[in-house]
């Protein structure tokens, strides 16, 4: 496999983590412009754990996911009574606050004669754990996709469970869900924590693949794209965000079809989809139709 293909497939995998994180909140009826913050928190936490504290890669990635979950849970708890625009603004404000805090934060230690660690706007270079452990770009790409497949499997199983149905119900009509006995506020906090964990895991992978991160990586642009991928792909299934990423990065970007106009085309595509299919290509109705198509009807005597 060429270096270009390995890089492209790795990027598709990593950005899908942020898209899945935004998707989970969309399903719960919340629009978040701040999932990039948890991606960033996960990246910094995992990088610090493996580089400064010498933790193994697996523990570092788990720590990144946990940090993302704590961030998501905290914001979820603080904003549990907010809806619509107010929730969106609150998440954006937290994300910007996190980015600016990372811009000011310095925590460095000498390693191999060099100062290593977060250095404010200069970023955090030398996150070399995956590299020194012998991970090649190809094997790391496989790791990304194994973890992504695992995450998607958990999400798909969750969506088919009673809790998953309750989450969709709360997203569509919170008043009705509350009347049916669902603790909507608690459900939203848990969902925000889970979404934070997913983004944090992606961030940890990103930090170790690139060996360098900086606060600017986690600005609102990443959050807007993550949201757009969920909307393009559809809110009917966890495959939706992956389809959104495949359309943008896999087709528009990698083919260089529109050259410098790609972002304009991408914006237009989002606008068109919001008019034509407000809940994306694979919306709930389409997923139901597809399920009926692939499920053999039971024969009655």
């Amino acid at each position: 496999m060429s270096d270009f293909a390995v890089g492209l497939i790795s990027n598709i995998g990593m950005i899908t983590f942020v898209a899945l994180s935004a998707y989970l909140l969309l399903v719960s009826g919340s629009i978040s412009f701040g999932q990039q913050a948890y991606f960033g928190l996960g990246a910094y936490a995992a990088g610090i754990a493996t580089t400064l504290w010498d933790w193994p890669l697996a523990l570092g990635l788990a720590f990144g996911a946990l940090t993302g979950a704590l961030g998501g849970g905290l914001v979820g708890a603080l904003t549990r009574r907010l809806h619509g625009l107010y929730f969106a603004i609150a998440t954006l404000a937290f994300a910007e606050m996190t980015r600016l805090a990372l811009d000011l934060w310095r925590y460095q230690r000498p390693i191999g004669g060099e100062l290593v660690g977060p250095d404010g706007p200069n970023g955090f270079a030398g996150i070399r754990r995956a590299f020194t452990d012998g991970w090649e770009p190809l094997s790391f790409m496989i790791l990304i996709w194994v973890l992504l497949a695992g995450t998607m499997l958990v999400l798909i199983l969750f969506e088919r469970s009673r809790s998953g149905a309750a989450l969709r119900g709360a997203g569509e009509d919170p008043v009705l869900a509350r009347a049916l006995g669902t603790d909507v506020a608690r459900l939203r906090v848990n969902t925000a924590a889970a979404a934070g964990a997913i983004a944090g895991l992606g961030g940890g992978l990103y930090a170790h693949l690139n060996t360098y991160i900086e606060p600017r990586l986690f600005d609102v642009m990443l959050g807007v794209h993550a949201l757009a991928y969920g909307i393009i792909g559809g809110l009917g299934t966890a495959f939706g965000p992956l389809i959104g990423v495949l359309i943008d990065i896999g087709i528009l970007e990698s083919s260089r079809l529109f050259q410098g106009w790609r972002m304009v085309v991408f914006g237009g595509l989002v606008a068109l989809l919001l008019i034509w299919r407000p809940r994306g290509l694979l919306d709930e109705a389409t997923v139901r139709r597809l399920r009926r198509l692939f499920t053999t009807p039971a024969r009655h005597a």
Binding site: D3, F4, G7, L8, N11, M14, I15, D54, W55, P56, L59, I111, G112, N122, G123, A125, G126, R128, R129, F131, T132, D133, G134, P137, Y206, N210, T211, Y212, E214, R216, L217, D219, M221, L222, H225, D248, I249, E253, S254, G260
Partner: protein, 131 residues
């Protein structure tokens, strides 16, 4: 069983980072080529004593920090420059001007991954920070 798991976890936590040979010194300088958005990049590799390193296998790729993972630049392998020991050149084609993180992946004579942030403009390229 629990004791064994705890012992393994403690060993993993206490495991030191992989011992590595001293890293080579790497310098990167890029200049705009005649074609728009194409840049000629010169990589100079020296051992810790400052002696030029020959026979290096290095590939250059780039990512844009303002939009991570969204731009996929085709990686290029640098070729040795004649009469300049330790120097390698590659033509890097970017998608737009701006700050890019250039990744230099070394496969020989020692495995290494070096990153450099450069500001690529139409008429000049300036380093943003040396890592």
């Amino acid at each position: 069983m629990k004791r064994w798991i705890a012992a393994i976890c403690l060993c993993l936590l206490a495991m030191p980072a992989w011992a590595q040979a001293p890293r080579h010194k790497v310098e990167l300088a890029c200049t705009p080529a005649k074609t728009a958005l194409v840049y000629q990049c010169l990589v100079h590799v020296a051992d810790p004593a400052g002696k030029p390193v020959e026979g290096a296998d290095v590939t250059l790729s780039a990512d844009m920090p303002s939009m991570p993972m969204a731009h996929n630049v085709k990686p290029v392998t640098a070729r040795p420059v004649a009469d300049k020991p330790g120097s390698y050149e590659a033509m890097l084609e970017l998608e737009m001007p701006g700050e890019w993180l250039v990744k230099l992946q070394f496969r020989a004579p020692q495995r290494d991954l070096v990153t450099r942030k450069l500001d690529f403009q139409k008429d000049k390229v300036t380093p943003v920070r040396t890592q």
